[in-house]
Amino acid sequence: MKHGVNVTALVVFVLFFVAVTVMGFLASRWRRADDAQHLDEWGLGGRSFGTWVTWFLLGGDLYTAYTFIAVPAAVYGAGAAGFFAVPYTIIAYPLVFLFLPRLWSVARVHGYVTPADFVRGRYGSRGLSLAVAVTGILATMPYIALQLVGIQAVLDTLGVGGGANSNWFVKDLPLFLAFAVLAAYTYSSGLRAPALIAFVKDTLVYIVIIVAVIYIPMRLGGYGHIFDTAAQKFNTVNPKTGKPAGSMVTGPNAQWAYATLALGSSLALFMYPHTVTGVLAAKSRNTVRRNMAILPAYSLMLGLLALLGFMAIAAGMGKGVKGYNAQLAVPQLFAGLFPDWFTGVAFAAIGIGALVPAAIMSIAAANLFTRNIYKEFLKPDATPAQETKVAKLSSLLVKVGALAFVLGMDKQFAINLQLLGGLWIMQTFVSIVGGLFTRWFHRWALLAGWAVGMVYGTWKTYGIASPATKHFGGNTAVIPGIGQIGFIGFTAFVLNLIVAVVLTVVLRAAKAPEGADETRREDYSAEAGEAAVDNAPVPAAAH
């Protein structure tokens, strides 16, 4: 392992960083609209993105820096179990193909900016809308924090900011700088900035991964040797626990967990506010549909990337190091095997890969706060210009919060919360997706189902200990009634659904007030170019 600062890599890294910063600020002029004061402009890029921009934006949004670090780290640590990210991203697109186009249409017709806007309009319920908004913000905050963890892993490996004896200010200065820059251009350019930077990010990621899966096995003696070495590691029984560290394929007792993690995570994926933001920014319903067929190109990258975990084992990363941080496995693999200049390119891909989703997430959280808390409860007569101002300011606050989170608290805590975030956001699925197809569910039943899912999932996860942490140490437990180990979030989701169905029957029998529905049946299939969309309350962006 090299010590000290890797100068060549650092220079390349900084050059890329400066380039995307310039792009971020220039982005505000890209496809500029007449009415820049409207929240649709800052928060949704004018709802104007075509197929390819949407592809880059969503790809940049879904496949984050943390993904690049965490997925191979999970494979490095546990083998097959860490690979569930692959079926997860395969299942996600056909699944959401069924309902996302409906969400796009109804949001376009009624000018909805957030998923909570839709819930408010569909069920006429401020309480349910608030629950969806708060869940979204809660789930997004730790996710932003984890993007910083991704940058930190890269900076540590580069030799900047690391070192136990440097003081906290020097240590965290590079992170501060990166974040200040991010906050500034998100503030000024809104969603256009990450959309433009995503081009650079995704191109770099494709290049780095393709090079990595060809070049690294050549250096390590081929895939056969890599998997043999990994099999050796996972077959060795750990004397402390009496169990092997992982396995090369999912064992007979791990299949439910593998499948429920994949299915549950794919249900959650497009409930996240930042992914909804990316979808609503598309200019037509068909743009959204087309993207479901071309986004798997990124999953292919993810699948290959996951294999890097095995390569890190074969390259001997962290071998014999006590309490080794698996998240450093891939950055160290790159630094150890690539020429210095290409290490710089690879790290730039990860670093910029953190900025794009962090920007979109903070915009999405800001949209939620502005539309569903500020305008709904604090200032109902806010003008669009005021909304935009509040959203810009709250995007800053969100980022400062995430930074404080990472610097002030245990990193493990951020990771735990992000796992919980996936579980939480899944509990909004019944309200949102159910609502896209039927008005049968009662709003109070949905709220009760949401609450049950949240409480059950959080409580169950709290009770799990792991070597790294006393609580929230995992995300699987025995599924009541089935007896197999499964994803807690998915069990919570099923409970949520059962409660919602049962209470809906009860409340309907009791003739509880249903609330007003402002949407019509045809709104859910409206396409750009049709009258309903052209006469939408929000003026279509002109450019």
């Binding site: 692959v86 056909p94 699944l95 299915l263 067929a293 279509a540």
Partner: protein, 87 residues
């Protein structure tokens, strides 16, 4: 409202979901491909295959939409479904 295209589209979408959730069908080491265990290359292979199925669903639904537009007595006579068309 049910047409052959719609049914086929939903079926195309279901194929990859069912295939990947059926974990025991691919939870094995052999046959290897270029040194990569079956478990890994099989799932990675499903990524492009799933994209083909989703693409098929997209085309089927577009065809369905066109037929609906062309059908006599169609209510919707709006500006037409130029994808992303702007007046």
């Amino acid at each position: 409202m049910v047409s052959a295209e719609r049914v086929l589209a939903v079926l195309s979408l279901l194929v990859p979901i069912v295939a990947l959730l059926w974990v025991s069908s691919y939870s094995k080491v052999t046959p290897e491909l270029g040194g990569v265990p079956f478990f890994y290359w099989y799932q990675i292979l499903w990524i492009p295959v799933s994209a083909l199925f989703t693409g098929a669903a997209y085309l089927l639904l577009n065809r369905d939409a066109k037929q609906r537009k062309a059908a006599p007595g169609a209510v919707d006579t709006a500006a037409g479904a130029k994808a992303g068309g702007r007046p």
